[in-house]
Every structure is written in C-alpha cells, then in structure tokens.
C-alpha cells in the first residue's frame, strides 16, 4: 500500500511550523513568477519611475503657497499608488489568471494551507513594494533633492507601507470574486484604480480638488496612504495645506485598518479556488 497515514500533522505547534514553512515555499513561487516576467518588472518598477521623472521634470516648481516642490509631493503619491497597484491590481489580476488556468484548483486540492498561499502572495507584494520604494527614493534624492526620512519618520514610513500593503492585498483578494476573467478585469479593476489615483492626491494636489470629490476619495484608502507618505517626505509646514489642517495620521491608520478588516473578511468569506458554486 502506498502513503502511510503516519506522518500527518495534528499537533498545533507542528501545524504552525508547517504553515510557516509552506508560506516560504509559496512566497518563493509567487516572487519568482513576478520577477521572471519582464513585463511585470517594467510596470511595477520602471513605469512609476518614468512617471516620476517625467512629471517631476516637467513641473519643477513649488506648490502654490508653499515652498514644497511638486516633485516631492509626487514622490509620496507615486510610492503610494505603485504600492497599491502592486498589492491590489497586480495581485487580483494575477489571482484571476491563476484561477482561470487551473492553478488555484490544483492548490485547493493539495494540502497547502490557504494561509500559506496568501502569505506567499502578500510577502511577494511586500518585497516588490520595498523595491519600488527604494528605487523611488534613489531617484527622488538624486534627481529632485528629496530628503531621506529622519528618526521617527522611518517608523511612520514602515507602518504606513505595511498597512497599505495589507489593505491593498486584502481588497485584491476579495475583489477576485467579482472579476469573471482576466480579459474582463480592466473595467472592474484597472479603470477604477486609475480614476482613484487622480482623485486621491497622487498626481494632482489633493487640496485643489472640490470638497465633494475629496469626500468621495476619502472613503478609499489611497488618499490616506498618500497623505501618510507625505508626512514622511514633506516638511511639517505642509500640513496646513492638507484639508484636515494636519497629517491626520490617526485617520490614516484608522481608515487603512478598516480596509484591512473589510478586505480580509471578504477575502476569507468569498474566496474560491474556482469560479462558481
């Protein structure tokens, strides 16, 4: 007879170790899949840099009424939106592709824990985000005189990025339920995301938007993510320009946390290895 029933894991500590070990295996798979695709590398790293360099160079001036360069505002915005692009857009479309070609079904029939799979996906998004941030920092400092964060700002940067990735990934996983196929993803994912970028203070100053649009944008995490990032890269005086009169870091944390909870709850409840009943 074949596989002995023997070594099946029942002890909780052993189960945890196994989940962690398999998370690493899944992380390696997810990461390899992303970096081995030249297209992905372009869109995830080079494209944001390109945008940054072009916009930063074309608009070398300061923001009205401040002595903060537009390029620095952009740095925060582009870091935020490329983070979101990786965690939300890239992840969800990747998952839909994997569902379409039977990869998820195969996973679902194997003893890989769901948690390990998602940890691998999130871990991969995290590593890529860090790479994006580093790339942006290098260009920002070299080309636009961006200042490195100091002291507690590093801490802020870290928690804002971490919460941002978690929120993006949670939503990315949850939204796969309503994306029927990779080809039909754009109207559900890409276009809304692009629209969201314009109203969340990525390319255009958030404060110049009409109030109702600001309210709309504030429902979503991207506006807050970018604001949190601005608190790291822009001088404190800029707070006055922000609609709330301050960085409102408490709100950044709260909104991101709410989206994390919503995203993960939806993800856990609605995620399917294959599309249908």
């Amino acid at each position: 007879m074949t596989a002995a029933a023997g070594t099946l894991v029942t002890d909780r500590a052993e189960l945890l170790r196994r989940t962690v070990r398999l998370s690493w295996v899944q992380f390696v798979l997810a990461f390899k899949a992303t970096v081995r695709e030249p297209q992905a590398v372009f869109f995830l790293i080079l494209f944001p840099i390109m945008l940054f360099v072009i916009f930063g160079s074309v608009f070398p001036w300061e923001i009205d009424g401040t002595d903060v360069k537009l390029s620095h505002y952009l740095a925060a915005g582009i870091i935020g939106s490329s983070l979101f692009g990786t965690s939300f857009m890239n992840l969800s479309i990747g998952l839909v592709g994997q569902r379409e070609d039977g990869w998820l079904k195969r996973l679902g029939g194997s003893p890989v824990p769901k948690l390990s799979f998602f940890a691998g996906q999130i871990g991969s998004a995290l590593v890529i985000t860090v790479a994006q941030v580093i790339a942006m920092l290098i260009i920002g400092i070299a080309a636009f005189g961006l200042d490195l964060p100091s002291g507690t700002q590093w801490l802020t940067l870290i928690w804002v990025l971490a919460l941002g990735v978690a929120a993006g990934c949670g939503m990315g996983i949850a939204v796969t339920r309503i994306i029927p196929s990779v080809r039909s993803a754009p109207p559900v994912v890409n276009f809304p995301f692009i629209g969201l970028q314009f109203i969340s203070g990525v390319f255009l100053n958030f404060d110049i938007l009409p109030t109702w649009l600001q309210w709309l944008a504030s429902v979503f995490p991207l506006r807050w993510l970018c604001q949190g990032l601005r608190s790291v890269f822009l001088p404190d005086e800029f707070q006055n320009v922000e609609p709330g009169g301050s960085w409102q870091l408490e709100w950044v944390a709260i909104v991101l946390l709410i989206w994390i909870v919503v995203g993960l709850a939806l993800a856990v409840r609605t995620f399917r290895w294959d599309q249908s009943g």
């Binding site: 596989a3 798979l29 070609d101 029939g109």
Partner: protein, 323 residues
Amino acid sequence: MQSPSLTTMPPAISVSGVTKRYGPVTAVDGVDLEIAEGEVYALLGPNGAGKTTLVEMLEGFRKADSGEISVLGMDPADGSLAFRSRIGIVLQSQGSIDTYTARELVSAWSAAYPNPMDPESALKLVGLSEHADRRGKKFSGGMRRRLDFALGVVGNPDLLFLDEPTTGFDAVARRQSWEVVRSLSAEGRTILLTTHYLDEAEALADRIGVISEGKLIIEGTIWDLRRELGTSTRISWRPDPELDLAGLPQEASAWRRTESGRLTLETNEPTRLLRDLLAWSALRGLDELPELWVRSPSLEEIYLELVGAESEAQDPPLVEAAG
C-alpha cells in the same frame, strides 16, 4: 489490472443518492456509486453529462445538494488537511506553470505532503528527468501534460483523480501514460479516470461507469457491459436502390436504414437470419449482397447508442477490426 476487492475493506469512494442542481438544470441526478480501494474506475460520458460536476464533488470543490459522499472515509467538502494529503488531482493546466522549471514546481509541490515521492522519482516516472530544468513556457503540449501528471502524483496519493489524462497525446505518449497509470495502480492506489476515449477505458479500467444526463446509466466491467448490451449481432448490407425488397427476411421495415441506403438489423440468432437472407438472395438471383458485414457491436457503438448519439458505425469503420 486488479479485480476490485468486494470484501471487508471500506470503499475508497462511496456515493449515495447524490444530486446537484444549477438553477433549473440538474447536473447530477441521484447517482449511486462505489469504488473499491485499489480499483481503477473509468467514468465515461458526453460533455455536459454531469461527470465533471460529480468528480468535483468527490474532490471537494462542490457540495452536493442532497445525498452522501464519502471519499477515503471522509467528507470531501470539509476539505480537511487529512483528505487533501491523501488525494492527487491530475488536471490540465495552462499558463501558470510557464515561469517555473519542472523541477522547481514538482519540488515545491512535494513540500506540502506528509509522505511525498522524491521529486526526482516523480519526474522520472513521467519521463521529464531530462527536461526538468527547462522552463514551462518552453514545453510542448505533451510535456506540459506530463508535468501535470507529476504534480498530481508527487504527493503519493492513495486516490488519484485523472481528468482526461491523455487528451492531445500522440499514440506513443498515450501508451506511455497508460503504463504509468498501470504502475501507479499496481502500487495499490485507487484511480478514478474520466475520459472520452473508450479504448483508454477499456485498456485501464477495472470497471466503467457511463454517465448521461446526470444519471449513472450503466456500470460494470468491460465484460459486464458487453454481456448486457452487446449480445446481439448485427448484419448489414447495402442494397442497390432499385432493388425490390419484397420478401426480405424479417420484413424490410424491421431493418434500420441509413441515409446512404445501408440496411442494418440486430439479431440474437445471426445464423438463422443469415441462412434466410442468403436463401432470399438466391431466390432473387443476387450473386452478392453488396457490402455485407456481420459482427458484434464495438464498445464504441454500444457507448454511443447508450448516450443517445446517432451511431456513426452504420457503415463499417475505415480500419476494420478482425471478425
């Protein structure tokens, strides 16, 4: 091939009164089925007959609306770790494997199982050892299927689900796959095979079950199927269109007529009918009954008739089997 164990061992798969509906459509309609441990069972049926839905319920991806399912003593819908550790699924994958090498993928997969095969053994079993470091995107269709196979078996499953495993294979590759399936079965694994190919079912399966319109309409060994369905002999010929068929044995209307003008009749007394037919032809002065053949139906004909398709073999096949 092993004969199924009928005795005290609990069945590997037990399906009882299982029904599954999608809105107005009943995909699976009160199916009862038992597959013994160590058995190779082939599930046949046209597309849309319900076999995919049934198998997905057995794999744990769908929940039945009613009835009971027990696979390896567990409810697949629970999706327990114990369950998923003991089954293997071979399915056709497309793009996602492209970025990895066969070795990478099979190794990563084996890591999840409590008692896996050595990845190199799995690669060797499916004949991919030589190409194991090539990326999936450079694989031919046949190599991809081999990789699918390796991924399905590397976990050392007690129960293997094979979903149309040789679709798209050339004759050589098919034979090789069959050998692999046989060797897996010889190790005592239970295998549930869905296939469109009757020769495959015949070559591999201990028992065959035919699903049509959600129901299991017949089940048994090849011999059982033949015995139940194929006892009769068919006699067929193609008369000249001008020929007057008056007095034809068993009445001209009893013969089944195809568009091409061929007449076929099924009978349990072929010798008597032949004798009468030949006597009639002599009476009519016919030296030859054009395109005459006498044979028992092939498994394919039995199957096609069973699932309601118009039998293609009113005319003899291009490559005539002996007898």
